[in-house]
Symmetry: C2
Subunit: 511 residues, 2 copies
C-alpha cells in the first residue's frame, strides 16, 4: 500500500508538472509548443504580433525569389489566402524550395513596399520541418485543371483558394449552430443506417455486413437481421423528435446512389434539415429558411473569408469568369424580403416569358433546371415557389387548404436561387392518421382497404412513421437545404465537386 | 412583356405581403403563428411571460387530476423536465387525456401552493390539436424497462428525461463548436464512404450499390468501381486537412460492424476527432482534450440541463441508483489539472494494487475495462495514460523519444474516466516517410523491401495517406473522442443505447 501511495504521489506530482509547464492561452496558437510567440499568419496580418522582435510562424513555402543581396519567401499556413512575405538572406534562402514546411523566426518590420503588405518578417532563424521535391509535387504553381485536382483531394486543399473554401464551411457551420441555438432549436443526431426510404424514390446504397454467417439461430445471416441502407433524408426521424421536443435540426451526411454525373449532384453530401412542430402556417417555416441563409450570407460582406472570396475573382488561375462585383451582388441579393409565389404563378411566368425552353413548362409537370433558373432570374433574388401539384410530390405532404382551378396542390415550397436553381425543399407534413394512410395507398406504397384494417406488416418499415400520428400528433413542417450547394453558391464555385472536400460520385471515390 | 411585368408586380406585392405579415422575433417561439404570445414552457418557467394576462403554450398532456371544483393539468413540450401546471374547470378537463396535444391559453398567476411552482396557468381556452388514446399509447406513466423503450426509439424521446438528454447533446455540440472556433480550429466534413481502413482492424460495413449491372464498359459493376465501406475513423482524412489548413476537427458518424453486445458499444456512433499540425509535444494535444471536455462539463453546474440531470436523481422511474451528489461530484472531478501517467506507471499501479483482476495486468498487454476503471478510480479524476507499447498500437503512431527498460513505446495517450474507462484515444502521428513505410511493413500491411521500391499498387488504398509524407510533411497529432460515451458519462446514463437517439447494434436497427 505504501508503494501505491508513493507511486501516486509521484504520479500526481508528475501530472501537475506536465500540466503547469504548458500555458493554454486562447490568444496563442495551439501549435506553439516551442515558442510562446508562435502565431497564425491570419492573426499576424490582421492584428500584428505581441512582440514585434520575437515572432515565430509555421507554414509552407509558396515561392522563393532571390535577388543579389536579399531573398523573399512567400509563406502560407492555410489560415489566409494571401501569403506572408518574409525577407531573408540569399544564403538562408538556398535551403528552401516550394512546398517545404518550415518554422520562421524573426522581427516584424514595416515594409518598404507597403502596397502589397504593410509589414514583412525579417527572418533570423529557419527550422526546416518537412522537405518537398518541387519537381514531383502534384500541386504546382501553374494552372491545373479542376478535373485533375479532383483526382488528388488529399492534396488540393493545400491550394490557397481551397483553404478559403474550408474556412467558409467552418464559419457557416459555426454561425448556423449559433443562430439556431439562439432561436431555441435543438440540434440532433439522426441515424445514417436506416430501414425506411423517405422519398419513396431514388437509388439508395445498400449495406452489407462483413459477417457473412448467421449471428444467432434466429437471424437471416445479415448484421441487422433485415436489409438496411444509407439515409436519403433525416426528415422522418426529425419528425419523431419534433413531436417530442419541439423545433429540431440536424446537419447530417446524406446519400444517393444515382448515376447523375452533373455539377450539382454528389453521392454523399451534407444536408441541413429542420423540423418545426405546432406550426400550421408554412410561411413560418419559410421565414426560418430566409433568416438562416441570410445569417450566414450577410457576414461575408465584412469577414476575412468574404474578402478572400472576392479577392480570388481578380486573380488568374483560381476561379475564372465572373468578377468580384458579380459575387458581391449575389450576396447583396440575399437581403430580404424574398418573393413568394405559387407554382401556378411560376408556370404562368414561364409560359408568358417568350423563351423557347427545352422542356415546355406545363401545369402538372415538375420544373427542370432551366425553369428554376428563369423564375429566380426574373426576380433577381431567391424566390420561394409554393403549392406544387400533389401528383409530383411525395406522399407525406399536407394538401393545400385552397385548391386551384388546375388541380389539387400540397403545402410545400422550393427555394430557387438565381443562376443556380433549387437550394431548399420543404413542406407541411400530413399529421393526420387516416389521410396519411390514404396518401400512402394512392402512392401505391401499401395495399388498398379501410384504415382500421391496416396491419403492421403492410406498413412495413414505415410503421413507426405512421405511429407518430397515433398519440398526440401535431401540425408540423420543415425543410432540407443542400449544404454543399449553398457553400458553392456563396463562393461562386460552379461545380459541387470543388466545394465538397472529398467528393464522391458515380464511379469516383478517391481516398 | 407587359404581361410579365404585371405578373411580376403582382408577385412582388404578394411576396411582400407574405413576408411582412409574419413577425420573426428572436424572443418569440417559432411555433407562434397563431398568437404572438406563444412561449415555450422553459421560457415561461425561467423568465415569465411578456403579458401575464395573455399567455399561450403548446404541449402534450402529461396528466390530468380533477377535484370537485377545479382540475389540474400537467403539460410538457420537451423544453423542460418539469411540467407546466395549469388550472382549469372540471368541464374543460373532461376533453383532455394523457398524451394528447393541446394549445392552452390563459393568465399567468401566482400559485397558492408555490412549493412546486411559483406560478400556474389559469386556462381560459383550449385548442385540441392531436387526440391520444392513453390505453394504446406505448409510452405509459408507469415504469417501463429500458429494454422495452429501446424497441420504440421514435416514441421514447417523449419521456421527459429523454428530452433532457437530447438537449444535453445539443448544448454540448453548441459549446464545442463555439470553443473550438474561438481557439482557431476549423470544423470540417470528412467522408463517410471510404476506401481506407484507419485502424487496420475491426469489422467494417461494406457498401453495395443498388446498381447491379456495369455502369460503363470500364468498370467492374460496382458503383464506385472498387469496394467501399463506412468509415471507422476520420483521422486519416483529418491528417490531410491539418497539413493544409492547420488545426482541424470534425464531429462525424463512425461505424463498426462488431458483434460487441455491451453497454459501451454501438454499430453507429458520433466521434469527435481533432488533428493539430506543427506540434511536437503531445502534452499540447492533451491540453486541448482537457479544456474541451471541461468546457462542456463545468457549465452543467449552473445550466438548465445540468439542473434537470441532477433533479432526475431524486425521482423514481427515471434513473435509479446513484444520487444527485454522486453526479455533481462526477462533474466537479472534471476540474483540472488531470493527472498524466505513463502506461508503465499504470501497469505498476495495477500490479501493486492487491486486486485480483480477471485479466492479470502485464507490461506488453492492453488494458481491459477493469484495469482502466481502477487506474482512474485511484486518482478520482480523469487520467491520461501515455506511451503504450508499440506492439499493441496502430501503425501510424510515432515512436516515443525515450524508450523504457521494458520495450519500445509510442507517443500516444488514452483518457480514462473513473467508473467508465476509456473516453479518448490520441497520439502523435508518424510524419516521416521512411519510418511510416517501415511501420506498415512490420505491421504486415505491405510487402517487405527497401522504401524506394515501394509501388503504388503495394500501398493500395493507403497510397494517398503515404503521399501526405512526401511534400512538406510536418509533425502532428490528434485524438478521437467517443461523443455518445461522453454524453452518457455526463448524464450518468449507464448504457450508451439510452443516450444515442436511434441506437444501432448487432441485430438491432429500429426505425
Amino acid at each position: 500500500m505504501a508503494t501505491v501511495r508513493s507511486r501516486l504521489a509521484h504520479s500526481v506530482k508528475l501530472a501537475t508538472r506536465h500540466t503547469k509547464s504548458r500555458s493554454f492561452s486562447s490568444t496563442s496558437q495551439y501549435g506553439s509548443d516551442t515558442a510562446s510567440t508562435t502565431i497564425s499568419i491570419a492573426s499576424l496580418l490582421d492584428r500584428g504580433p505581441a512582440d514585434p522582435n520575437n515572432v515565430c510562424v509555421n507554414g509552407f513555402v509558396r515561392s522563393v525569389r532571390s535577388q543579389k543581396r536579399r531573398s523573399f519567401v512567400d509563406l502560407g499556413d492555410g489560415s489566409t489566402l494571401e501569403p506572408l512575405q518574409a525577407l531573408l538572406s540569399p544564403e538562408q534562402a538556398q535551403s528552401l524550395s516550394t512546398g517545404m514546411a518550415v518554422r520562421l523566426k524573426g522581427a516584424w518590420k514595416e515594409s518598404r513596399f507597403p502596397e502589397s503588405q504593410t509589414h514583412e518578417l525579417h527572418v533570423t532563424a529557419i527550422d526546416t520541418l518537412g522537405f518537398s521535391d518541387a519537381a514531383t509535387n502534384p500541386i504546382q504553381k501553374k494552372y491545373q485543371t479542376k478535373e485533375f485536382l479532383r483526382t488528388i483531394p488529399h492534396l488540393r486543399s493545400r491550394i490557397p483558394f481551397n483553404s478559403t473554401l474550408l474556412r467558409l464551411r467552418s464559419d457557416c457551420i459555426s454561425e448556423i449552430t449559433r443562430f439556431l441555438a439562439a432561436e431555441g432549436f435543438t440540434q440532433t443526431h439522426t441515424p445514417i443506417i436506416t430501414s425506411s426510404d423517405c422519398e419513396g424514390a431514388g437509388e439508395v446504397f445498400h449495406l452489407e455486413s462483413s459477417h457473412k454467417g448467421p449471428i444467432s439461430e434466429h437471424d437471416d445471416g445479415t448484421f441487422f437481421r433485415s436489409p438496411k441502407y444509407l439515409t436519403v433524408s433525416s426528415q422522418l426521424h426529425l419528425e419523431a423528435l419534433a413531436q417530442s421536443i419541439g423545433n429540431v435540426w440536424t446537419l447530417s451526411p446524406t446519400f444517393r446512389a444515382e448515376k447523375s454525373d452533373t455539377k450539382r449532384h454528389l453521392s454523399e453530401f451534407y444536408m441541413l434539415e429542420l423540423e418545426m412542430s405546432f406550426v400550421e402556417d408554412m410561411s413560418v417555416v419559410m421565414n426560418v429558411v430566409e433568416k438562416l441563409v441570410q445569417s450566414i450570407t450577410l457576414p461575408l460582406l465584412t469577414s476575412r473569408v468574404g474578402k478572400e472570396l472576392l479577392a480570388t475573382r481578380t486573380r488568374d488561375g483560381e476561379e475564372t469568369g465572373e468578377s468580384s462585383e458579380w459575387l458581391r451582388d449575389r450576396w447583396l441579393a440575399m437581403k430580404g424580403p424574398w418573393p413568394r409565389i405559387t407554382y401556378t404563378e411560376a408556370i404562368q411566368i414561364l409560359q408568358t416569358s417568350g423563351i423557347n425552353f427545352t422542356n415546355t413548362p406545363q401545369w402538372g409537370l415538375g420544373f427542370s433546371i432551366e425553369h428554376e433558373q428563369h423564375v429566380a432570374s426574373v426576380f433577381k433574388k431567391p424566390v420561394f415557389v409554393t403549392q406544387y401539384p400533389r401528383d409530383i410530390k411525395p406522399f407525406y405532404m399536407l394538401p393545400s387548404r385552397e385548391s386551384t382551378d388546375m388541380g389539387e396542390t400540397v403545402d410545400c415550397f422550393d427555394l430557387l436561387l438565381p443562376e443556380a436553381g433549387e437550394l431548399v425543399g420543404g413542406s407541411m407534413r400530413e399529421h393526420r392518421l387516416d389521410p396519411l394512410i390514404a396518401s400512402m395507398r394512392s402512392s401505391g406504397m401499401i395495399p388498398h382497404g379501410p384504415p382500421e384494417f391496416i396491419s403492421d406488416e403492410q406498413l412495413g418499415s414505415l410503421k413507426w412513421y405512421v405511429d407518430l400520428r397515433r398519440w398526440g400528433s401535431v401540425p408540423h413542417g420543415g425543410f432540407g437545404l443542400g449544404f454543399d450547394r449553398l457553400l458553392g453558391y456563396l463562393a461562386g464555385v460552379q461545380n459541387i465537386r470543388d466545394v465538397n472536400t472529398f467528393p464522391r460520385w458515380v464511379g469516383r471515390c478517391e481516398c
